[in-house]
Symmetry: C2
Subunit: 134 residues, 2 copies
Amino acid sequence: MSTEPPATTCDPTLPGFTCGLDATLRVISGKWKPLILYFLAQGGPTRYGELRRAIRDVSDKVLIQQLKELEADGLVKRTDYKEVPPRVDYSLTALGVSLAEALVPLCTWGTENMAAVTRVFAERATWSRKGATA
Amino acid sequence: MSTEPPATTCDPTLPGFTCGLDATLRVISGKWKPLILYFLAQGGPTRYGELRRAIRDVSDKVLIQQLKELEADGLVKRTDYKEVPPRVDYSLTALGVSLAEALVPLCTWGTENMAAVTRVFAERATWSRKGATA
DNA sequence: ACAAGTATGCACCTTTTGGTAAGTGCCTAG
DNA sequence: CTAGGCACTTACCAAAAGGTGCATACTTGT
């Protein structure tokens, strides 16, 4: 709650990524990744089909794709029991858990400022319905 | 560093946004927003042209657009001195500062795990050059 | 035999996002 | 009088992200 600039560990002069924040955001950007991380961090549903139903609006293609990326990024571990019918489940790796922990302040911020954010996004939606001609 | 699931304040049953994390990410998603936030949080360049040059690869259109969104989201304050030639500068609002603070753990995480993340992204780039036929 | 469930894969399309290039109005330097 | 900087704006495009729907191979339930 202080008003001084936080001592971010960002360094835009780093190679590849402009800063640590940039790297992190690239890893979690994906429409459903936060939710996936959320469910896995809660020890919630872990089987593919369960996740699929828990998230509801996601399509198979995208859910699979995002799980694969999270796996490739070393945040999620995929376990294929090689049974038939197929059984696969997903869980966070140690790295995934540490990321989930780093996300806590963002969750908190979002929750605390949800009202403001929601209001603005509602207006944005209104604009797109056309207008702003004058 | 604990291994238990962090007590995220996410609640996917909330209206509009699936959780606080979702709201936050929507507000900071934009190719250059993290950098903008970074510079402003550092008390770095604040005038439009300075930001423009500091970021280098960004185009006018997108930089302006992202600044506008950040402003609409209440994170950034735009000050137009109504001088001629034009002089405008940007700074973080209290809300922006609080967000920047919440981002610190993400910066740290990204910096600490940059090696792993970079490796994976390098491989992703390799894949896209074609392959994975066998 | 047939529908349903399991975890995906693939082709195709739409939406969103970002980028390019040019133009605006006004002022100062040469 | 032209060039350039300032802070944008606009029209047009390309790439990325996400969504839809069908297909697979096998099993269980009816």
